[in-house]
């Protein structure tokens, strides 16, 4: 029974995608929507059943088909079900099902609905292949597959040049990450002689002292491999340095942002680090790097979020910042907390994006918060749901009871402190700071969008309307998740039940067990992030409701710094200058100088000039030289053969 269940859960969305993608025009819009939604919904139900099975200790590892086989290298297509993949399957398929339903309403005006639904389902399939991969290679397959779907969906409205730019950027920045991921895979095979997780994890402890040489420098092998793999994670999860694609990815339709760029694909990097925890645990240098990058991203993204006016971009920066939390949790060996936050974040961030989509839909495509205001009367249900999402995001709660984010974020910060190292303290400070900023930009977004007086001309609001039930209904399960998922699942991810729950799916060295040590963190330090969150919320109320003139005063007072943050620390401009233009110039130079001037100049063209007379004759003969050549060849062969004949 379990056998057919996991295969069905993974492949049903694929069937839906094929039906809608290849036969969409024949079966029509309605039918395409029905098939894809039905398949993904079934997958979601099956995922929940699989998760229930896993809770009872049922794990499995199915081989479907041989894939790559070469010498000692072998990688099969397969489905690995353990606690980690089951949690991910539930998150992916449940959110995906909701987004599928929501898309029926959101894309109702679009002319290529079957294509959209097919892409969404195909994405779901690739994501499922990623999380159930039994080896690094299939993980890479899913990894590239979701990247491809992200590319196609960001550029879904392909007439828009900005969407095309954004989609290419997403793919290429991710390719830079993949560069590292691939090298990490090569390194793994060199070290472990296998790409399957089982043998890799088994051998990891023996490899702790091995070294590897790159360009004359010796590195600890496991640290090098983990850093290379993490480079892939940085690309996919938009961490500092490889983050520039995520805000631009908001060019895609909003359901895509919710599913791919908030709840699932961007968390693949976190998943990968958790999956590889048995290797990362023996690479302390890599773990420290993960923690620092996560901590920095967390504050960096939140600070940009404070200054943006596009409603989707604010949420995008918030996503990046929350991914930072997940990474530094992993960096302090609190993988369980990291996946916990991944799960709660999937619910509340998908909810937020879909609510933002509902607002944008209501305003016929407007995304600039400066043109909104006073919307709570017009879209009251969306407004209420969005509050739930934001309270969860800000991690609001009192005395042990709160929204989902309250549990997971606090667990992460406690673990950082509990680790007891300088890096742990450092990321705790960054995380607490980001918690303050998170609450501030959340409040800012809510107040600017829904409160005060409408700032835009009246006519835009005349058509504004609350979304239909098909868009609102899928938000309800997500909202329930955003409220309750944290409290209900806390015991499994953060409590004493967690060892039994994970059942070996993640691995933490006893001396790294920051979650156990977290229990000894002082109560004031434990309460600090929540207090900061309340403070941030209050401050945003002061800035955007009580004293609306404050923001302008502050931004002028810190003019230069404000512009620096507002322009996203000039990362995009810098990359564009160095890499994009650099590569084109280099390409042009190689072509004109290298190929035309040097190689041809010294080679055939130079030869031609030296023997211009012959060249003239050749060109005068038009195509006659071919026969010449053939004739000369035959003559040559004959001559040589004859020569050997008489002298041999």
């Amino acid at each position: 029974m379990a056998f057919s269940m996991d295969i069905a859960a993974v492949f049903l969305p694929f069937l839906g995608a094929v039906a809608a993608g290849l036969f969409g025009r024949r079966i029509g819009d309605r039918m395409s929507q029905a098939v894809t939604c039905g398949c993904v919904f079934l997958s979601a139900c099956l995922s929940v059943l699989i998760f229930k099975g896993v809770l009872e200790g049922e794990t499995s590892n199915h081989v479907l088909l041989e894939w790559i086989q070469s010498g000692g290298l072998s990688a099969n297509w397969g489905i690995k079900i353990d606690t980690l993949s089951a949690v991910m399957l539930v998150v992916v398929n449940v959110v995906s099902a909701m987004v599928h339903f929501y898309s029926i309403g959101y894309m109702s005006e679009d002319k290529s609905k079957p294509r959209f639904m097919a892409y969404l389902s195909l994405f779901t399939f690739f994501m499922s292949m990623l999380v159930t991969a039994p080896n690094l290679l299939q993980m890479f397959f899913g990894w590239e597959g979701v990247g491809l779907m992200s590319y196609l969906l960001i550029g879904f409205w392909y007439e828009k040049p900005s969407a095309n730019d954004a989609s290419m950027k997403a793919f290429l920045v991710n390719r830079v990450g993949d560069f590292g991921f691939l090298l990490g895979i090569f390194g793994c095979f060199m070290l472990f002689g296998s790409l399957d997780f089982g043998p890799i994890f088994e051998k990891a402890p023996e490899m702790a002292d091995k070294t590897i040489v790159f360009f004359g420098h010796t590195f600890p092998a496991l640290t090098a491999v983990c850093l290379l793999l993490f480079m892939g994670a940085m690309g996919k999860s938009a961490q500092l340095g490889l983050h520039t694609w995520l805000p631009d990815a908001m060019e895609g339709p909003t359901p895509v942002s919710a599913l791919i760029h908030a709840a699932t694909m961007v968390t693949a990097g976190v998943f990968m680090v958790a999956r590889m925890s048995p290797v990362f645990e023996y690479a302390p240098g890599a773990l420290a790097f993960v923690a620092i990058i996560g901590g920095l991203t967390c504050v960096f993204a939140a600070s940009i979020g404070l200054t943006q006016f596009d409603i989707k971009r604010v949420i995008a920066y918030s996503t990046m910042s929350q991914l930072g939390y997940m990474f530094f949790a992993a960096g302090v060996s609190a993988y369980s907390a990291s996946i916990f936050h991944l799960m709660t974040h999937a619910f509340f961030k998908a909810l937020l994006f879909l609510c933002a989509g509902s607002v944008i839909h209501a305003l016929s495509g407007e995304q600039d918060m400066r043109k909104m205001g006073g919307l709570w009367r017009i879209v009251p249900k969306t407004y209420a749901l969005m509050w739930i999402g934001f309270l969860a995001l800000a991690g609001i709660g009192v005395g042990g009871i709160g929204f989902a984010g309250y549990y997971s974020k606090d667990l992460i910060l406690e673990a950082a402190l509990g680790q007891g190292t300088a890096i742990g303290c450092f990321v705790y400070v960054l995380g607490a700071l980001a918690a303050f900023m998170t609450a501030f930009y959340s409040g800012r977004l809510l107040f600017m969008t829904f409160h005060g007086e409408p700032r835009e001309e009246r006519h835009m609001l005349e058509h504004a309307h609350e979304s239909s039930w098909v868009m609102l209904a899928p938000l309800v399960p997500l909202a329930l998740g955003a409220i309750f998922a944290g409290g209900f699942a806390f015991d499994l991810f953060g409590g004493d039940a967690r060892a039994a729950f994970w059942n070996g799916a993640i691995f933490v060295l006893p001396e790294h067990d920051s979650l156990s040590k977290a229990e000894h963190v002082g109560s004031l330090l434990k309460a600090l992030p929540v207090m900061l969150a309340f403070g941030g919320l209050a401050l945003s109320w002061l800035f955007y409701v009580a004293r609306p003139e404050f923001p302008a005063i502050v931004s002028t007072a810190f003019g230069a710094f404000y512009r620096f943050v507002c322009r996203k620390f000039y990362f995009d401009d810098l990359y564009d200058f160095i890499f994009v233009r650099g590569a084109r110039k280099l390409g042009g130079a190689f072509w004109r100088l290298g190929d035309d001037a040097i190689i041809d100049g010294c080679g055939p063209d130079g030869f031609a000039k030296a023997s211009l007379r012959i060249a003239r004759r050749v060109s005068a003969l038009q195509s006659g030289y071919v026969y010449h050549y053939a004739f000369a060849m035959i003559l040559g062969v004959t001559g040589l053969v004859t020569w050997f004949w008489y002298n041999g």
Binding site: W67, I68, M168, L172, F186, S623, V626, V641
Partner: protein, 500 residues
């Protein structure tokens, strides 16, 4: 198969077809064209049928040469008409037999003048290609190897574009250099070993200094053919000027003759010299991968862009081969198979719009996703294979080749992996300019989507690209044993890890 000379039948059936066309196609220009097209298609399909029969009789469990035929040719020098296939060459026979009918199908739509002669040239070309890959005597190999050039010259020179003379002369100079040296090497080998039987030459020990010179002479020929940087500058011109069918065969089969030569002659007959020169070849391969990918980024002509991308892909072939690892060897073969289908499909795809608009200037197109959705979809699948997305054929080869290089020296793979970034950059940039954006050019808007004939052309290529990507073992199992055997002389210097 007992006694039936299937390889000779296979090799010369297209030539018989060419004679049949010469004799039978008469009458008005139109009738001549029609009949020669039909005959060419018929003969090439019959050849494909024979090739499948041969493939069915082929035993992958035998690492040696099979279906050998031997007839004395020039007794005094021990030169024989000797042919046979092993698990390596059998694939090259298959791709030659498969691509020829596809090239003929494409020519039916696009070649309008001297149709009869064109069909004859294509069929003669097929015989030469099949002969190259089945020949087991060096002199015979040489005759076919060079014989390929004659019909190819004609195809570029007669049916080519405006600058065909320049293109053909460049092709001529480069290949002349290579083939003269190769001929000298062949006779030197024959003098040293007393035979030109390739099966005997594999395993023959040559004096070290001679082996090095011989290797260099063969290298000159194969490096031009592959082509390796910096011997690649003939390729963009040849492709740009060649008609679509010519480009398909050139990229699909002719370039592989270089890779095949490296395996069969450089590596199998001169292993020590190959090991000696390996760093040199690897460096050229790495330069090719990075350099030509960047050059491809700067191109404004579709065919030139794809031609440069071919050079980069062939860089993965030589990189994998000269890493002397199992993964590298398998990877090189997989890259060659994949590139055959991908490059052929890409040139056909360019041909589709060239037939309609008579330009290959990228800037003249845009927004075609809207009016040519099927074309856009096929292009997307092939593009994904070209950039090596897992699940397509492109990934398997590049992955294995780089894995092999990593085992030989991690730095090789670091440089080669840069290619996957640049490769994605130039292909996505091309796709974006062709298919996305507003559909605002009236001549582009007037174009029709793929015709049934074109769909028939692309269907096998798309299927193969996905099949190799998902289940490469079906292909690898055939060449695994001979490749393994080719690696034996290098085992001493190879990591233990990958033999597991």
């Amino acid at each position: 198969m007992n006694g039936f000379p299937i390889l000779s039948a296979l090799t010369f059936l297209p030539l018989i077809g060419a004679f049949a066309i010469l004799l039978l196609a008469r009458g008005s220009e139109e009738a001549k064209a029609k009949l020669s097209q039909r005959l060419a298609l018929l003969f090439s399909l019959a050849t494909l049928g024979l090739a499948f029969t041969m493939f069915g009789a082929f035993d992958p469990a035998d690492p040696g040469f099979q279906m050998k035929e031997r007839h004395v040719w020039i007794e005094a020098f021990n030169i024989a008409y000797l042919n046979g296939v092993d698990g390596i060459s059998v694939w090259f026979v298959m791709i030659s037999a498969l691509l020829t009918p596809i090239a003929i199908l494409s020519a039916i739509g696009s070649i309008k003048k001297r149709v009869k002669e064109f069909m004859v040239a294509l069929l003669v070309l097929e015989t030469m290609m099949l002969g190259t890959f089945t020949a087991l005597d060096l002199v015979l190999f040489y005759v076919f190897f060079e014989g390929v050039l004659i019909p190819m010259f004609l195809i570029i020179g007669v049916w080519g574009g405006e600058k065909r003379t320049y293109a053909a002369y460049k092709f001529f100079l480069y290949t002349l250099l290579g083939s003269v040296l190769m001929l000298v090497a062949i006779f030197a080998m024959s003098a040293l070993a007393g035979t030109t039987d390739m099966t005997a030459l594999i395993g023959e020990k040559f004096p070290r200094h001679m082996a090095l010179w011989l290797w260099l002479a063969f290298f000159a020929s194969f490096a031009v053919k592959t082509p390796m940087w910096p011997f690649h500058t003939w390729l963009p011109y040849a492709h740009v000027e060649a008609p679509t069918a010519g480009s398909v065969i050139l990229a699909g089969v002719l370039l592989k003759m270089g890779g095949y030569g490296f395996i069969r002659i450089a590596i199998q007959m001169l292993p020590e010299a190959s090991a000696y020169f390996a760093p040199f070849v690897v460096v050229l391969s790495l330069v090719a991968i990075v350099y030509t990918s960047l050059v491809a980024l700067a191109q404004t002509d579709m065919k030139k862009l794809i031609a440069y991308s071919s050079v980069a892909h062939m860089g993965f072939v030589t990189l994998g081969l000269f890493s002397f690892t199992r993964q590298g060897f398998d990877g090189a073969m997989m890259v060659m198979l994949s590139h055959t289908f991908v490059a052929a499909a890409l040139f056909l795809l360019v041909g589709v719009v060239y037939d309609r608009m008579h330009t290959r200037e990228i800037a003249r197109f845009g927004g075609m996703a809207a009016n040519m959705p099927r074309y856009a979809a096929v292009f997307m699948v092939i593009m994904l294979a070209a950039i090596g997305l897992p699940g397509t054929s492109g990934f398997i080869g590049e992955f294995l080749s780089m894995q092999g290089a990593f085992l030989a020296n991690p730095n090789y793979a670091v440089v080669a992996a840069l290619g996957i970034i640049f490769g994605a950059a130039y292909m996505l940039w091309l796709y974006r300019r062709l298919f996305y954006g507003p559909l605002d050019k009236s001549d582009v808007r007037a174009m029709k989507d793929l015709t049934p004939r074109e769909i028939v052309m692309f269907a096998p290529l798309v299927l193969l690209v996905l099949w190799i990507g998902i289940y490469p073992s079906a292909f690898r199992n055939v060449f695994a044993l001979p490749m393994e055997r080719a690696l034996v002389p290098f085992d001493a210097q190879v990591h233990e890890a990958q033999n597991g």
